[in-house]
């Protein structure tokens, strides 16, 4: 068979290669269109505290962490890191807010008690905040710079290195 004819079956290979490439992609990993855009403002009624709004934190780096007591195991894995990070950086001007998604108050409070949460957390009735942030699972963590723009979105539990790197960037005022 001449090489010209061999081209016919070989012409099917690009399609195969494309499909093979598909093994390395994750169709569930959806990038957020909000990165480098201004974070949606929200008001949240913090447990045992007053109301808090995101806009009032402008000028400070903010971490917004979406979690739930039924989110197992990832939320349970990152909770100690969240609290530890808060204690380390709260005196440097970092603001941390936890938003509890579709949970029952007693369960959420138990979660907070278990991990000794001392930073503000509040429920999200009607899931308005989650919807505005395009949250599609828990945990998700948004790193917001001093200008109020979302610098980075972490889907899943935050790894310590990522937390450190992002906070340093936020504190330096570099944002996105």
């Amino acid at each position: 068979m001449s090489w010209k004819k061999a081209l016919i079956p070989l012409a099917t290979l690009p399609v195969i290669l494309l499909l093979a490439y598909g093994f390395w992609t994750d169709p569930k990993a959806i990038p957020s269109p909000l990165v480098r855009k201004e974070a949606p403002n929200f008001r949240i009624a913090v447990f045992d505290g007053a109301e808090m709004s995101l806009a009032s934190q402008r000028g400070k780096p903010v971490i917004v962490n979406f979690w739930a007591s039924w989110c197992f195991p990832a939320c349970y894995e990152e909770a100690p890191l969240m609290e530890a990070t808060w204690r380390k950086y709260k005196d440097q001007g970092l603001v941390m807010v936890g938003v509890v998604i579709q949970d029952k108050d007693p369960n959420a409070r138990e979660f907070m008690r278990r991990f000794g949460y001392s930073f503000p957390n509040g429920p999200d009735p009607g899931s308005k905040i989650s919807i505005d942030f395009g949250v599609y699972g828990v945990p998700e963590t948004f790193f917001i710079d001093r200008q109020g723009r979302i610098a980075y979105k972490q889907v899943g539990a935050v790894a310590p290195e990522v937390m450190e790197a992002q906070i340093q960037a936020l504190l330096k005022g570099q944002g996105a």
């Binding site: 068979m1 004819k5 061999a6 081209l7 016919i8 079956p9 070989l10 012409a11 099917t12 290979l13 399609v15 195969i16 494309l18 499909l19 093979a20 490439y21 598909g22 093994f23 992609t25 169709p27 569930k28 990993a29 959806i30 990038p31």
Partner: protein
């Protein structure tokens, strides 16, 4: 015990199938009839073994033997028996086993039926069919074993997704699998023809009925899937251009092209390469479709991916493509047809155009389906392709197909003269214009609707014209009554007239699709008890919420009183089903399905105190025509494939005067 026995059966079947392949090829090449006979026995033995495997797995399912991981995944102790049985195809491993069983069954039937004749082709047909089985068995032996054990043995299984514990689950997957596996038969014959160099129409004629029946199953499977989706999921739609839906649609498109294109090869010896390409594409797309469902490379509601399966499927797909296209290239010199197109205005040309349009739609659907991958690979950008793209390309192409359905049967072979065109097309064209004008007068002013009706009326008019002219001619010639003449026509030229009935079904379905899309009305409102919402001529009053326990879930429903033009229609009770293992509830749709329009109601949300509920109501005009069209297609295919002998007897009985 079942686990060991089942696993062993798979391995044994794999060995036997492999032997069947080798013995068939060796026997054919060495011209040893005893080897060929042995290979045929192997085919039967292979089938028996796979049947045993199915029996074992079903036994485990029905007796809730949770020591098998597959049983634990797809059934629960409390499931109804028929859903335990359906667990066979509820998840990956079992579905592979079912596919393989159907493949083995079809291979056995083909070998049993045709081995006496067609002695040159059959060994290679058998080798290809058994080769496909080898892949599916290897998938189970080395990839995902349906008989794998789980330890510790769970006290109860996880069960099928609640959405699947419905009667539809007993029907839809089976219909589709019968279609998919059925297409492997003409493919095997095509490969055998290429291998042996017997490139006449032999392979087409033998497989004609198999192809049409496989196509029928695929068509019914697709229609049924849409109907199931519409009645159950609560979004009021029936087709979402989901990658896996597309995966069933693409082989359907090329399969349809193939069925039509072979008519040209039979009559005019043309389009040989087209036909080989079409059946190869059809089979490859079937494998591609299964690959999509099980590889996890594209997100889909149907997807159930696992481990090495994706890679193995891709490997098999590569093999199929290289092998079949390689063979076509190898034989390309001998595939030149004996005919040439005389004129662009001819039936041959219409069929060629038909091929192009169907393959064109298939290509655009394929492109849309893999575009997310392409975009990420080439630009690093994640995009998704949705309904707007698919509708924009398939609607115009679909309309041209409808036109072709009108033109094809009436236009002359060879070269259509002006006279022929005028004689055959004037009346259907007039009917189309008049019908559309009438609709315009009745209030239909939307351009897409008018265009759709124009094309559909033309095609319907052409078919009716064809029927009446032929009936009248026959009645005049034989002195029969019109009715008898019509019946005899159907029976004598059943391929032609059965095919025309299928076209009528397609047109009816397209009218249903067009009208229900263009004139769909939707309205959502939050109502307190006693309040009503108005949609079209309907008024729906919310009378209160209720809840109750069902064997597998908790059902919350709204009691709605519906009236149309003031007359009571009775109660509608849309609701939500809450299952213990699921985070969100499933919709429980209630609707009034009528031939002219559907009133479709969903409970979107409700307050826990029962004082208010959010109701979404839809009017879907003429959506039932889609399902009716599907039934007409079924009828048409039955007419087209009825066996000859029975027909001859019926025909004889209806004509007592003839000598």
């Amino acid at each position: 015990m079942i686990s060991t026995l089942g696993g062993f059966t798979i391995f044994l079947a794999l060995g036997v199938a492999l032997y069947a392949v080798i013995a068939a090829i060796a026997g054919a090449r060495a011209n040893r009839e005893d080897w060929l006979a042995s290979s045929r026995n192997a085919v039967l033995a292979h089938f028996c073994l796979v049947t045993l495997a199915i029996f074992l797995l079903e036994y485990a399912l029905v007796t809730s033997d949770f020591s098998l991981r597959y049983v634990a995944n797809t059934s629960t102790r409390g499931s109804l028996t028929r859903y335990k049985i359906a667990g066979l195809w509820g998840s990956l491993e079992g579905s592979i086993l079912l596919w393989e069983w159907l493949q083995a069954l079809f291979a056995t039937l083909v070998v049993a039926r045709y081995s006496d004749r067609h002695r040159e082709l059959m060994p290679y047909v058998q080798a290809v069919l058994q080769g496909i089985s080898v892949f599916f068995l290897a998938l189970m032996a080395f990839g995902v074993n349906p008989f794998a054990r789980v330890f510790p043995i769970p006290p109860d299984g996880r069960g099928l997704n609640p959405l699947l514990e419905v009667t539809d689950m007993l029907v839809h997957p089976l219909l589709l699998y019968l279609g998919y596996v059925g297409f492997s038969i003409p493919f095997a014959f095509a490969m055998a023809a290429l291998i042996t160099g017997r490139l006449s129409d032999e392979w087409l004629t033998i497989t004609r009925r198999w192809t049409v029946v496989a196509w029928l199953f695929l068509t019914c499977g697709i229609f049924y899937g849409g109907w199931w989706s519409y009645r159950t999921l609560g979004w009021g739609g029936y087709w979402a251009w989901d990658p896996v839906e597309n995966a069933s649609f693409m082989p359907w498109l090329t399969g349809t092209a193939f069925i039509h294109s072979v008519m040209i090869q039979e009559r005019k010896r043309m389009l040989k390469v087209w036909n080989l390409l079409l059946i190869t594409l059809t089979f490859s797309l079937v494998i591609f479709g299964t690959f999509l469902t099980r590889s996890g490379i594209l997100g889909s509601v149907h997807a159930f991916a696992d481990g090495p399966v994706g890679v193995m499927f891709l490997g098999f797909l590569t093999l199929v493509l290289l092998f079949s296209f390689g063979l076509i290239a190898y034989r390309s010199d001998r595939l030149k047809g004996r005919g040439e197109l005389d004129s662009v205005v001819s039936r041959e040309s219409a069929f060629l155009l038909n091929n192009l349009v169907l393959v064109g739609i298939c290509f655009t659907v394929f492109l849309g389906t893999v575009f997310p991958l392409l975009s990420e690979a080439l630009r690093g950008a994640k995009v998704s392709v949705g309904t707007p793209y698919f509708n924009r390309v398939s609607v115009p192409l679909g309309m041209s197909l409808v036109l072709l359905m009108g033109i094809g049967p009436l236009i002359a072979w060879g070269r259509a003269s002006l006279n022929n065109l005028r004689r055959n097309f004037l009346k259907p064209l007039l009917a189309a214009v008049l019908g559309t004008a009438l609709l315009y007068g009745l209030g239909v002013h939307e351009f897409p609707a008018l265009l759709a009706f124009l094309c559909c009326f033309f095609a319907l008019g052409a078919i009716v014209f064809e029927f009446t002219v032929a009936t009248r001619a026959r009645a005049r010639a034989t002195g029969e009554s019109r009715v008898a003449a019509f019946a005899t026509l159907l029976l004598k030229s059943r391929r032609r007239y059965g095919g025309l009935i299928v076209h009528v079904g397609v047109i009816v379905a397209i009218i249903g699709i067009a009208i229900s899309s263009i004139y769909k009305v939707e309205h959502e409102q939050t109502l307190r008890v006693g309040e009503s919402l108005t949609i079209g001529r309907y008024v729906i009053r919310f009378d209160g919420l209720a809840a109750g326990e069902r064997p597998t879930h908790v059902l919350v429903w709204a009691n709605l009183a519906a009236t149309k033009d003031g007359a009571s229609l009775g109660e509608l009770t849309p609701g939500q089903r809450f299952y213990p293992n699921q985070q969100s509830p499933f919709a429980s749709v209630d609707a009034r399905y009528r031939w002219n329009e559907d009133l479709y109601v969903v409970l979107s949300a409700f307050e826990r105190d029962g004082k208010s509920a959010t109701i979404k109501a839809m009017i879907n005009p003429m959506i039932s025509w889609i399902w009716i069209g599907g039934a007409i297609i079924l009828l048409g295919v039955i007419v087209a494939v009825l066996p000859e002998r029975r027909l001859a007897m019926l025909a004889l009985r209806s004509r007592p005067q003839e000598a």
